[in-house]
Protein backbone atom coordinates (compact mmCIF):
# COMPACT_ATOMS: atom_id res chain seq x y z
CA UNK A 1 0.00 0.00 0.00
CA UNK A 2 2.90 2.32 0.73
CA UNK A 3 4.20 1.18 -2.63
CA UNK A 4 0.99 2.42 -4.27
CA UNK A 5 1.06 5.75 -2.45
CA UNK A 6 4.65 6.43 -3.44
CA UNK A 7 4.13 5.38 -7.04
CA UNK A 8 1.33 7.95 -7.28
CA UNK A 9 3.27 10.63 -5.39
CA UNK A 10 6.34 10.34 -7.57
CA UNK A 11 4.22 10.46 -10.70
CA UNK A 12 2.26 13.47 -9.46
CA UNK A 13 5.27 15.49 -8.34
CA UNK A 14 6.94 14.83 -11.65
CA UNK A 15 3.76 15.97 -13.42
CA UNK A 16 3.65 19.34 -11.68
CA UNK A 17 7.30 20.01 -12.42
CA UNK A 18 9.43 18.78 -9.51
CA UNK A 19 12.18 16.92 -11.32
CA UNK A 20 11.57 13.16 -11.18
CA UNK A 21 14.95 12.44 -9.65
CA UNK A 22 14.28 14.50 -6.55
CA UNK A 23 11.73 11.97 -5.33
CA UNK A 24 13.48 8.75 -4.38
CA UNK A 25 12.04 5.75 -2.54
CA UNK A 26 13.65 2.52 -1.52
CA UNK A 27 13.07 -0.49 0.71
CA UNK A 28 15.87 -0.82 3.25
CA UNK A 29 16.20 -2.09 6.78
CA UNK A 30 18.53 -0.69 9.41
CA UNK A 31 20.03 -4.14 9.84
CA UNK A 32 21.16 -4.18 6.18
CA UNK A 33 24.21 -2.19 7.17
CA UNK A 34 26.24 -2.06 4.01
CA UNK A 35 23.26 -1.69 1.71
CA UNK A 36 21.93 1.14 3.85
CA UNK A 37 25.25 2.96 3.44
CA UNK A 38 25.16 2.41 -0.31
CA UNK A 39 21.63 3.75 -0.54
CA UNK A 40 22.56 6.90 1.31
CA UNK A 41 25.65 7.42 -0.83
CA UNK A 42 23.63 6.92 -4.01
CA UNK A 43 20.81 9.23 -2.99
CA UNK A 44 23.21 11.97 -1.90
CA UNK A 45 25.07 11.72 -5.19
CA UNK A 46 21.84 11.89 -7.20
CA UNK A 47 20.49 14.88 -5.36
CA UNK A 48 23.77 16.78 -5.42
CA UNK A 49 23.90 16.29 -9.15
CA UNK A 50 20.58 18.14 -9.41
CA UNK A 51 21.76 21.15 -7.50
CA UNK A 52 19.97 23.20 -4.85
CA UNK A 53 16.18 23.00 -4.85
CA UNK A 54 14.47 26.19 -5.93
CA UNK A 55 10.89 24.97 -6.08
CA UNK A 56 8.60 24.68 -3.08
CA UNK A 57 11.19 26.39 -0.93
CA UNK A 58 9.74 28.82 1.56
CA UNK A 59 11.75 31.95 2.10
CA UNK A 60 11.21 33.11 5.65
Amino acid sequence: MARRKFATLKSFLDYIGIEGDRTIFTWVSASEGERFANVIKGVTAKVQALGPAAKLVKKL
Partner: protein
Protein backbone atom coordinates in the same frame (compact mmCIF):
# COMPACT_ATOMS: atom_id res chain seq x y z
CA UNK B 1 -35.99 16.84 -18.99
CA UNK B 2 -39.38 18.37 -18.16
CA UNK B 3 -40.84 14.90 -18.05
CA UNK B 4 -38.15 13.86 -15.63
CA UNK B 5 -38.89 16.83 -13.39
CA UNK B 6 -42.53 15.79 -13.17
CA UNK B 7 -41.71 12.18 -12.33
CA UNK B 8 -39.06 13.35 -9.86
CA UNK B 9 -41.57 15.48 -7.97
CA UNK B 10 -44.06 12.62 -7.84
CA UNK B 11 -41.43 10.25 -6.53
CA UNK B 12 -40.29 12.80 -3.93
CA UNK B 13 -43.87 13.33 -2.77
CA UNK B 14 -44.31 9.61 -2.41
CA UNK B 15 -41.10 9.09 -0.46
CA UNK B 16 -41.93 11.89 1.93
CA UNK B 17 -45.54 10.82 2.43
CA UNK B 18 -44.56 7.25 3.12
CA UNK B 19 -41.94 8.57 5.53
CA UNK B 20 -39.22 6.58 3.83
CA UNK B 21 -36.98 9.63 4.10
CA UNK B 22 -36.74 12.29 6.81
CA UNK B 23 -35.21 14.91 4.54
CA UNK B 24 -34.66 15.10 0.82
CA UNK B 25 -31.79 16.95 -0.82
CA UNK B 26 -32.42 18.16 -4.33
CA UNK B 27 -32.16 21.21 -6.55
CA UNK B 28 -34.59 24.11 -6.82
CA UNK B 29 -34.64 27.16 -9.07
CA UNK B 30 -32.14 29.76 -7.95
CA UNK B 31 -32.83 33.44 -7.31
CA UNK B 32 -30.99 34.56 -10.45
CA UNK B 33 -32.20 33.48 -13.89
CA UNK B 34 -30.65 30.29 -15.27
CA UNK B 35 -29.44 29.00 -11.91
CA UNK B 36 -30.37 26.06 -9.73
CA UNK B 37 -29.44 25.78 -6.09
CA UNK B 38 -29.50 22.89 -3.60
CA UNK B 39 -32.62 22.65 -1.45
CA UNK B 40 -33.71 20.58 1.50
CA UNK B 41 -37.33 19.53 1.76
CA UNK B 42 -38.96 17.75 4.63
CA UNK B 43 -42.60 17.39 3.65
CA UNK B 44 -44.44 16.41 0.51
CA UNK B 45 -46.02 19.84 -0.11
CA UNK B 46 -42.56 21.22 -0.82
CA UNK B 47 -41.82 18.60 -3.46
CA UNK B 48 -42.94 20.89 -6.27
CA UNK B 49 -39.90 23.07 -5.68
CA UNK B 50 -37.64 20.38 -7.11
CA UNK B 51 -36.10 20.92 -10.52
CA UNK B 52 -33.74 18.95 -12.73
CA UNK B 53 -31.99 20.75 -15.58
CA UNK B 54 -28.62 21.70 -17.02
CA UNK B 55 -28.01 24.32 -14.34
CA UNK B 56 -27.90 21.85 -11.45
CA UNK B 57 -24.20 22.19 -10.74
CA UNK B 58 -23.31 21.09 -7.22
CA UNK B 59 -22.51 17.54 -6.19
CA UNK B 60 -25.17 16.85 -3.55
CA UNK B 61 -23.29 13.97 -1.92
CA UNK B 62 -21.55 16.62 0.18
CA UNK B 63 -24.85 17.59 1.78
CA UNK B 64 -25.82 13.99 2.33
CA UNK B 65 -22.60 13.45 4.24
CA UNK B 66 -23.05 16.68 6.20
CA UNK B 67 -26.63 15.86 7.20
CA UNK B 68 -25.83 12.35 8.33
CA UNK B 69 -22.71 13.43 10.24
CA UNK B 70 -24.59 16.21 11.99
CA UNK B 71 -27.30 13.78 12.95
CA UNK B 72 -24.78 11.29 14.31
CA UNK B 73 -23.03 13.95 16.34
CA UNK B 74 -26.33 15.10 17.81
CA UNK B 75 -27.22 11.52 18.66
CA UNK B 76 -24.05 11.03 20.67
CA UNK B 77 -25.61 12.76 23.65
CA UNK B 78 -28.81 10.73 23.47
CA UNK B 79 -29.19 7.44 25.33
CA UNK B 80 -28.73 4.44 23.01
CA UNK B 81 -32.27 3.22 23.51
CA UNK B 82 -33.72 6.64 22.59
CA UNK B 83 -31.68 7.13 19.45
CA UNK B 84 -33.54 7.60 16.21
CA UNK B 85 -32.35 6.74 12.75
CA UNK B 86 -32.54 9.44 10.13
CA UNK B 87 -32.74 8.63 6.45
CA UNK B 88 -31.69 11.18 3.86
CA UNK B 89 -32.99 11.10 0.31
CA UNK B 90 -30.98 12.61 -2.51
CA UNK B 91 -31.53 13.46 -6.16
CA UNK B 92 -28.41 11.92 -7.62
CA UNK B 93 -26.85 11.97 -11.07
CA UNK B 94 -23.87 9.84 -12.07
CA UNK B 95 -21.06 11.67 -10.28
CA UNK B 96 -23.18 12.19 -7.17
CA UNK B 97 -23.77 8.43 -6.91
CA UNK B 98 -20.04 7.85 -7.38
CA UNK B 99 -19.40 10.09 -4.38
CA UNK B 100 -22.00 8.23 -2.35
CA UNK B 101 -20.42 4.90 -3.29
CA UNK B 102 -17.08 6.36 -2.18
CA UNK B 103 -18.60 7.36 1.16
CA UNK B 104 -20.02 3.88 1.58
CA UNK B 105 -16.68 2.27 0.71
CA UNK B 106 -15.04 4.47 3.32
CA UNK B 107 -17.69 3.48 5.87
CA UNK B 108 -18.99 6.98 6.41
CA UNK B 109 -22.57 5.78 6.74
CA UNK B 110 -24.70 2.71 6.05
CA UNK B 111 -26.50 1.93 2.81
CA UNK B 112 -29.78 2.03 4.69
CA UNK B 113 -29.28 5.66 5.77
CA UNK B 114 -29.57 7.06 2.28
CA UNK B 115 -32.27 6.71 -0.38
CA UNK B 116 -30.95 7.50 -3.84
CA UNK B 117 -33.24 8.83 -6.54
CA UNK B 118 -31.24 8.33 -9.72
CA UNK B 119 -31.59 10.79 -12.60
CA UNK B 120 -29.97 10.66 -16.03
CA UNK B 121 -27.54 13.49 -16.80
CA UNK B 122 -26.25 15.09 -19.97
CA UNK B 123 -23.98 17.55 -18.25
CA UNK B 124 -24.29 20.92 -16.59
CA UNK B 125 -23.51 24.40 -17.80
CA UNK B 126 -20.27 26.07 -16.75
CA UNK B 127 -21.34 29.53 -15.58
CA UNK B 128 -17.94 31.02 -16.29
CA UNK B 129 -18.10 29.77 -19.88
CA UNK B 130 -21.60 31.23 -20.17
CA UNK B 131 -20.43 34.63 -18.95
CA UNK B 132 -17.57 34.56 -21.45
CA UNK B 133 -19.96 33.63 -24.27
CA UNK B 134 -22.07 36.68 -23.41
CA UNK B 135 -19.02 38.96 -23.12
CA UNK B 136 -19.81 39.56 -19.47
CA UNK B 137 -23.30 40.93 -20.08
CA UNK B 138 -25.85 40.62 -17.29
CA UNK B 139 -28.48 37.96 -17.78
CA UNK B 140 -31.82 39.67 -17.31
CA UNK B 141 -33.94 36.70 -18.21
CA UNK B 142 -33.28 33.29 -19.61
CA UNK B 143 -34.83 29.98 -20.43
CA UNK B 144 -33.72 26.54 -21.46
CA UNK B 145 -35.56 24.58 -24.14
CA UNK B 146 -34.16 21.25 -25.25
CA UNK B 147 -30.49 21.93 -25.94
CA UNK B 148 -30.58 25.67 -26.51
CA UNK B 149 -30.48 28.46 -23.96
CA UNK B 150 -32.26 31.71 -24.79
CA UNK B 151 -30.98 34.76 -22.94
CA UNK B 152 -32.18 38.35 -22.66
CA UNK B 153 -29.44 40.86 -21.97
CA UNK B 154 -29.43 44.63 -22.01
CA UNK B 155 -28.37 44.52 -25.66
CA UNK B 156 -30.98 42.06 -26.91
CA UNK B 157 -31.66 38.36 -27.18
CA UNK B 158 -29.04 35.64 -27.68
CA UNK B 159 -29.37 31.94 -28.23
CA UNK B 160 -26.57 29.63 -27.15
CA UNK B 161 -26.43 25.86 -27.61
CA UNK B 162 -25.86 24.01 -24.34
CA UNK B 163 -23.00 22.02 -25.93
CA UNK B 164 -20.95 25.21 -26.28
CA UNK B 165 -20.97 26.06 -22.58
CA UNK B 166 -20.96 22.60 -21.03
CA UNK B 167 -18.58 22.13 -18.09
CA UNK B 168 -15.24 20.52 -19.04
CA UNK B 169 -15.64 17.49 -16.84
CA UNK B 170 -19.11 16.84 -18.27
CA UNK B 171 -17.82 16.76 -21.84
CA UNK B 172 -15.66 13.69 -21.20
CA UNK B 173 -17.82 12.03 -18.54
CA UNK B 174 -18.11 8.25 -18.70
CA UNK B 175 -20.38 7.92 -15.70
CA UNK B 176 -23.39 10.05 -16.49
CA UNK B 177 -25.87 7.47 -15.26
CA UNK B 178 -26.29 6.52 -11.60
CA UNK B 179 -24.04 3.70 -10.39
CA UNK B 180 -26.45 2.68 -7.65
CA UNK B 181 -29.92 3.92 -6.88
CA UNK B 182 -33.08 2.96 -5.12
CA UNK B 183 -35.32 4.52 -7.75
CA UNK B 184 -34.40 5.49 -11.30
CA UNK B 185 -36.34 8.32 -12.91
CA UNK B 186 -36.63 8.12 -16.67
CA UNK B 187 -34.42 6.41 -19.20
CA UNK B 188 -30.63 6.19 -19.05
CA UNK B 189 -28.84 9.12 -20.65
CA UNK B 190 -26.75 8.52 -23.76
CA UNK B 191 -22.94 8.51 -23.53
CA UNK B 192 -21.30 11.92 -23.64
CA UNK B 193 -19.71 12.80 -26.99
CA UNK B 194 -16.23 13.36 -25.61
CA UNK B 195 -16.03 10.24 -23.44
CA UNK B 196 -13.26 8.62 -25.45
CA UNK B 197 -10.96 11.65 -25.13
CA UNK B 198 -11.09 11.67 -21.38
CA UNK B 199 -7.38 11.95 -20.70
CA UNK B 200 -6.41 13.91 -23.80
CA UNK B 201 -5.72 17.07 -21.79
CA UNK B 202 -3.50 15.25 -19.31
CA UNK B 203 -1.55 13.56 -22.08
CA UNK B 204 -1.00 16.91 -23.78
CA UNK B 205 0.30 18.40 -20.55
CA UNK B 206 2.65 15.47 -19.98
CA UNK B 207 4.35 16.27 -23.27
CA UNK B 208 5.50 19.68 -22.04
CA UNK B 209 8.92 20.11 -20.46
CA UNK B 210 9.45 20.01 -16.68
CA UNK B 211 9.99 23.76 -16.52
CA UNK B 212 6.87 24.52 -18.54
CA UNK B 213 4.80 22.31 -16.31
CA UNK B 214 6.18 23.95 -13.18
CA UNK B 215 5.46 27.37 -14.60
CA UNK B 216 1.87 26.45 -15.32
CA UNK B 217 1.45 25.04 -11.83
CA UNK B 218 2.86 28.13 -10.13
CA UNK B 219 0.87 30.43 -12.37
CA UNK B 220 -2.41 28.69 -11.57
CA UNK B 221 -1.67 28.47 -7.88
CA UNK B 222 -0.74 32.13 -7.68
CA UNK B 223 -4.43 32.81 -8.34
CA UNK B 224 -5.44 30.85 -5.26
CA UNK B 225 -6.57 33.06 -2.37
CA UNK B 226 -6.95 30.22 0.16
CA UNK B 227 -10.70 30.69 0.49
CA UNK B 228 -11.10 26.89 0.74
CA UNK B 229 -14.30 26.92 -1.30
CA UNK B 230 -12.96 23.93 -3.23
CA UNK B 231 -12.54 22.01 -0.01
CA UNK B 232 -16.01 22.99 1.22
CA UNK B 233 -17.68 21.94 -2.03
CA UNK B 234 -15.81 18.68 -2.51
CA UNK B 235 -17.74 15.63 -1.29
CA UNK B 236 -14.50 13.71 -0.76
CA UNK B 237 -13.20 16.38 1.63
CA UNK B 238 -15.14 15.49 4.74
CA UNK B 239 -12.56 15.48 7.53
CA UNK B 240 -13.98 17.12 10.68
CA UNK B 241 -10.65 18.89 11.12
CA UNK B 242 -8.84 19.57 7.88
CA UNK B 243 -5.05 19.18 7.82
CA UNK B 244 -4.78 22.89 7.10
CA UNK B 245 -6.34 23.77 10.41
CA UNK B 246 -4.02 21.62 12.47
CA UNK B 247 -1.34 23.40 14.43
CA UNK B 248 0.28 20.53 16.30
CA UNK B 249 2.14 19.92 14.05
CA UNK B 250 1.47 22.64 11.51
CA UNK B 251 1.65 20.84 8.21
CA UNK B 252 1.29 23.91 6.05
CA UNK B 253 1.33 27.65 6.69
CA UNK B 254 -1.93 29.50 6.58
CA UNK B 255 -0.82 32.71 4.94
CA UNK B 256 -0.80 33.66 1.28
CA UNK B 257 2.90 32.94 0.77
CA UNK B 258 3.21 31.39 -2.69
CA UNK B 259 5.08 28.31 -1.47
CA UNK B 260 2.54 27.67 1.28
CA UNK B 261 -0.28 27.85 -1.25
CA UNK B 262 1.49 25.46 -3.60
CA UNK B 263 2.06 22.98 -0.80
CA UNK B 264 -1.53 23.29 0.40
CA UNK B 265 -2.91 22.60 -3.08
CA UNK B 266 -0.42 19.80 -3.63
CA UNK B 267 -1.47 18.16 -0.39
CA UNK B 268 -5.19 18.63 -0.89
CA UNK B 269 -5.03 17.28 -4.42
CA UNK B 270 -2.96 14.36 -3.27
CA UNK B 271 -5.66 13.43 -0.75
CA UNK B 272 -7.82 12.85 -3.80
CA UNK B 273 -5.88 9.88 -5.22
CA UNK B 274 -8.44 7.26 -6.14
CA UNK B 275 -11.14 9.42 -4.50
CA UNK B 276 -11.85 12.25 -6.92
CA UNK B 277 -15.02 11.55 -8.91
CA UNK B 278 -14.45 14.49 -11.28
CA UNK B 279 -17.75 16.19 -10.48
CA UNK B 280 -16.23 19.60 -11.22
CA UNK B 281 -17.62 21.19 -8.04
CA UNK B 282 -14.20 22.52 -7.01
CA UNK B 283 -13.68 24.27 -10.30
CA UNK B 284 -17.21 25.66 -10.46
CA UNK B 285 -17.05 27.20 -6.97
CA UNK B 286 -13.51 28.58 -7.26
CA UNK B 287 -13.83 32.38 -7.30
CA UNK B 288 -10.47 32.77 -9.04
CA UNK B 289 -10.89 30.15 -11.77
CA UNK B 290 -7.89 28.02 -10.82
CA UNK B 291 -7.56 25.11 -13.25
CA UNK B 292 -7.58 22.34 -10.66
CA UNK B 293 -8.83 19.67 -13.02
CA UNK B 294 -5.62 19.57 -15.01
CA UNK B 295 -3.91 18.10 -11.94
CA UNK B 296 -6.84 16.12 -10.55
CA UNK B 297 -7.36 14.38 -13.86
CA UNK B 298 -3.74 13.25 -13.76
CA UNK B 299 -4.35 11.61 -10.39
CA UNK B 300 -7.47 9.99 -11.83
CA UNK B 301 -5.43 8.70 -14.81
CA UNK B 302 -2.68 7.36 -12.57
CA UNK B 303 -5.16 5.52 -10.37
CA UNK B 304 -6.63 4.00 -13.50
CA UNK B 305 -3.29 3.13 -15.17
CA UNK B 306 -1.51 1.85 -12.08
CA UNK B 307 -4.35 0.22 -10.16
CA UNK B 308 -7.19 -0.19 -12.64
CA UNK B 309 -9.51 1.71 -10.35
CA UNK B 310 -12.04 4.50 -10.92
CA UNK B 311 -13.26 6.28 -7.81
CA UNK B 312 -16.70 5.18 -6.72
CA UNK B 313 -17.29 3.06 -9.79
CA UNK B 314 -18.43 -0.01 -7.93
CA UNK B 315 -19.46 -0.74 -4.37
CA UNK B 316 -17.48 -3.98 -4.25
CA UNK B 317 -14.08 -2.44 -5.11
CA UNK B 318 -11.92 -1.51 -2.14
CA UNK B 319 -10.42 1.99 -2.16
CA UNK B 320 -7.18 1.70 -4.20
CA UNK B 321 -4.82 3.02 -1.52
CA UNK B 322 -6.15 0.64 1.10
CA UNK B 323 -5.11 -2.50 -0.70
CA UNK B 324 -2.34 -3.83 -2.89
CA UNK B 325 -1.71 -6.42 -5.58
CA UNK B 326 1.33 -8.60 -5.78
CA UNK B 327 2.59 -7.12 -9.03
CA UNK B 328 1.99 -3.46 -8.41
CA UNK B 329 4.25 -1.03 -10.24
CA UNK B 330 7.75 -1.18 -8.78
CA UNK B 331 9.99 0.43 -11.36
CA UNK B 332 10.20 3.68 -9.43
CA UNK B 333 11.94 2.08 -6.43
CA UNK B 334 15.63 2.90 -6.15
CA UNK B 335 17.77 -0.17 -5.73
CA UNK B 336 21.55 0.35 -5.71
Amino acid sequence: MENIEKKLREEAKRLLEEKRVDALVGYEAGTLPLTATPCFITNSEEADRLVWNAFCTQNLAKYVHDLISQHRNAQKRVKPEDRKKKVVGVVARGCTTRSIVLHLQERQYGRDEVVIIGVPCTGYVDRKALTVALDGADIQEGSLAGDRITIQTASGEREIPVQDVLADNCRTCKFNNPIICDVMIGEKAPEMLGAAREYAEVEEFEKLSTEERWEYFTKEMSKCIRCYACRQACPSCYCPTCFVEQSQPQWVGLGEDATDTQVFQLMRLFHMVGRCVDCGSCVSVCPMGVDLRKFLKKLDKDAFDFFGNRAGASLEDPPPLSTFKEHDKEDFIYNP
